[in-house]
């Protein structure tokens, strides 16, 4: 997603000033995506260059209004009609961290999973508080909150799944060893290596 499409969507209602666009963008996304004025004006300049918006001249205090062009409206609807690809999203640092942790000797992967889950559950609790406090008719904010809540929930489920998988893997590959913490480092590597190779 880009700020571009966000601004095009806001301009669909009618012409607006830059500072107005910034305020409305933040209101619609529940301040989860703070923009600075510079980003808004840079984006508007590029949109104007690409013919998607046009400047409408300035008012008495020098503020420039912008309006959507027909091309801009077409681009906006194309964006709404196109599903967001998961592939274009940033790589998941947590998944990479866990994957690497299983290959590094002496790292307690279960502790990483538990620490992350506690942290994500706290986030979930905070998000739920915000939802409790949100106005019932603030639909844009509620949708953004729900999205964050469902993503946090999915992460907790995945972490729980990882934990079970780790427990099973250590049981099946290291039956005689008393506990993960007491394992010698080289044995630990061997176990994890086997787990990764599969």
């Amino acid at each position: 997603m880009s700020i571009r499409h966000g601004l095009l969507a806001l301009l669909d209602e009618g012409p607006k000033y830059g500072y107005q666009l910034r305020q409305e963008f933040e209101r619609a996304t529940g301040a989860t995506w703070p923009l600075n004025v510079g980003q808004v004006y840079t984006t508007l300049t590029r949109l104007e260059r690409d013919g998607l918006v046009r400047g409408e001249g300035s008012d008495e205090s020098g503020r420039v209004g912008y309006a959507l062009t027909d091309e801009g409206r077409t681009e906006l609807h194309r964006w709404f009609a196109t599903p967001i690809s998961r592939e274009t999203r940033p790589r998941d640092e947590l998944a990479i961290k866990l994957a690497l942790a299983t290959t590094v000797p002496g790292v307690d992967v279960t502790a990483i999973v538990q620490g992350q889950r506690t942290s994500t559950l706290r986030t979930l609790r905070e998000l739920t508080r915000l939802k409790k406090a949100a106005a019932e008719d603030d639909l844009p904010w509620l949708l953004v909150l729900d999205s964050m809540i469902f993503q946090a929930e999915a992460e907790v489920r995945w972490l729980d799944h990882c934990e079970s998988r780790l427990a099973r893997s250590s049981r099946s590959t290291a039956p005689a060893r008393p506990s993960a913490e007491n394992r010698p480092a080289d044995d630990h590597t061997a176990t994890d290596h086997e787990g990764v190779r599969r």
Binding site: R129, K132, I149
Partner: protein, 243 residues
């Protein structure tokens, strides 16, 4: 009854072992937990982690092998069976996944039932039940039978039943399990509101989304609390500050 000042529910170093020797199953291992008025504590964990055992112990349906369970300051282990049964009737309400309303009784009769079983005169029981239904926003369903209500409506009635009269402890076992996600959220919102209004709640759920309504989330694995969010502090509310 004068409300007890300390935690409504308290578990002190509670362990529960089923069986003996080699085949012994440690359902809970040294768990401590306290829930005071206005608080909701959620317990999560995979199946077999000890969640159900915890609810049974908190509800006086089972006794710990080691440790103490206190409801409104009374150690259940020191009470007679009859006294525990009385405490369960008067102090503890239950909300289950499948609502557990009695099909042959109307909503108001279902809510009045625990009071009547406890010897409250019928007229008064009915009046308190009507009030409890109003508090969960379904006063108009008073004369309806469970079969003529949606799942969300039945769960609202069940919450009214759990907190009718002087009941101040609600034990909820997957209360949203049978509901679609939006109805489930409405039920959690209601449960939260009723607890805020002066009850203590212990919620068992496998859905983190619903556990998010709690003040504290405890994650059980193999009978131990492996994660614990603790209580929310103001310093944590970073998101709130950005609003």
């Amino acid at each position: 009854m004068t409300p007890h000042a300390g935690p409504v529910l308290e578990l002190r170093e509670v362990s529960r072992v089923h069986g003996q020797g080699e085949t012994a199953v440690h359902a809970l291992r040294g768990l401590s937990l306290a829930v005071t008025t206005g608080e909701l504590v959620a317990v999560m964990g995979p199946s077999g982690s000890g969640k159900s055992t915890l609810l049974h112990l908190a509800g006086g349906l089972d006794s710990p092998t080691v440790g103490e369970v206190l409801v409104e300051g009374q150690d259940l282990g020191t009470l007679s069976k009859a006294a525990v049964a009385g405490l369960r009737r008067r102090s503890i309400g239950y909300v289950f996944q499948d609502f557990n309303l009695i099909p042959a009784l109307t909503a108001v009769e279902n809510v009045a039932l625990p009071l009547e079983l406890d010897g409250v005169p019928s007229r008064r029981a009915r009046k308190e039940a009507t009030q409890a239904l109003a508090e969960v926003g379904v006063k108009e369903l008073a004369g309806r039978f469970p079969d003529d209500m949606s799942g969300g409506q039945q769960q609202r009635v069940a919450i009214a039943r759990a907190l009718v009269g002087d009941r101040r402890l609600v034990l909820a076992d997957e209360p949203t399990g049978a509901l679609d996600s939006e109805t489930g959220e409405a039920v959690m919102r209601l449960l939260r509101a009723r607890i805020d209004a002066g009850a203590a709640g212990l919620l068992v759920t496998h859905e983190a989304r619903h556990a998010g309504w709690a003040d504290r989330i405890v994650f059980l694995r193999d009978g131990r609390a492996v994660d614990d969010t603790g209580y929310a502090s103001d310093a944590e509310s970073l998101l709130e500050e950005s609003r």
